[in-house]
Symmetry: C2
Subunit: 235 residues, 2 copies
């Protein structure tokens, strides 16, 4: 009680608290799934009292949905910055594949969250009003690229943009989200540097070859193939 101002036991910081809670929840839900996640651990990780979760966000399910919405928001927002409109169509597709791959690599929690939500048959996502509206602009962006590619003669097929995007996402998503079991059953580490480089090359080659019909050139690692002898490579 002297002149020294007594140290506070805690400070108020509602916005910061909410962010720390959501970040901690993202970690916890992606690491353990919905049922495996522990509310107490989220609180501890956020440096908060458990009560704070309910005060600032809601119960476990609401917390989970908030995390999920935030995750979709983040990837779609980054995708908008890709600026595919101004690229050569094949180059645009290549960039989309590379972005998707790298985004999944940089954000493994996103993959886990989607897996978890799909195990729940999208029960929570269906309640979200925000998420549905995020995606039509994205589909239109791809549709435009495909159309331009067809018109220019670069692409031989007018593929459905949704189908194409699902395939692009699939090639990266499955490889990464299932890398644990795949590494075990195939007995090789799919996440080391070399394997990852090869995977990216394989995916780009696969999709662009299918679209343009020029498989040998795209797949090749060394020089162009001779007439009947194929390029032997490990991608």
């Amino acid at each position: 009680m002297a002149k020294a101002k007594r140290t506070l036991k805690w400070q108020r910081d509602p916005e910061g608290m909410r962010l720390r809670i959501l970040e901690a929840a993202k970690q916890e839900f992606s690491a353990h799934g919905l049922a495996g996640a522990r509310v107490d651990r989220i609180a501890a990780k956020a440096g908060a009292n458990k009560r704070m979760l309910y005060y600032h966000v809601g119960n476990k399910d609401e917390l989970y949905l908030a995390v999920l919405e935030g995750a979709y928001d983040k990837i779609r927002s980054e995708e908008r910055g890709l600026d595919l409109e101004h690229l050569d169509p094949p180059e645009a597709i290549r960039r989309l594949i590379e972005f998707t791959w790298n985004y999944f690599l940089r954000n493994p929690e996103f993959l886990s969250l989607l897996q978890t939500e799909n195990l729940a048959r999208a029960k929570h996502l269906k309640k979200s009003t925000k998420v549905k509206s995020m995606h039509s602009p994205f589909v239109e962006m791809i549709r435009t690229v495909v159309r331009r590619g067809v018109d220019s003669g670069d692409f031989q097929v007018a593929v459905d943009p949704v189908q194409l995007y699902i395939s692009i996402a699939a090639l990266s998503f499955f490889y990464l989200s299932n890398s644990a079991t795949l590494s075990v059953i195939f007995g090789r580490d799919l996440l080391d540097k070399k394997a990852k480089d090869e995977r990216l090359a394989h995916m780009v080659g696969l999709v662009l070859a299918a679209l343009t019909g020029r498989s040998a050139e795209l797949f090749k690692i060394g020089k162009a193939p001779t007439s009947r002898a194929a390029v032997v490579q490990t991608v």
Copy 2:
């Protein structure tokens, strides 16, 4: 105590019991994940006393691993019956894609189990000695097909069989295992008859086009494309 043999309260059936337990466990784990699965529900579904799970298989984790091993065993065993060795290479690849797609459609629990195990970073699978040995014959089967395709000139690239199989599995797996969230965000039902037919055609077209370099012919729905005008189709 008359002559009528008193009705038994229960009968012995160790083998049948074990099978019913594993089947019930498969249902439960695939429907709710590892943490979400309830031991009591498995017992009830198997028409068994909870104690039986521990008596015949083991604790929750051991039960889960047994289910997982059984699932891998089943798909690899069916794959062995594909007899790809005696088919034209492009036809062999088509058949592998179609089999994979249909197997995943017929066995949705398999997809869920893999997702669950990957969320656990293959913690359980790593302990399995059986599973690792199941896969090398399968990889060799694909390697042979690719080599034959390259030799015959059907395929323009000697793709790595593991990489190829992962891509084939990915295209089906992601579409089906994530159909719940994808259907929500893209606003269309990806599991209705038409959508499924289109997906299969898309996948076969994508992979065979990339391997053979003849995308337009493979993708086409109607007649062959003219020189620069692409085939417009929704696959």
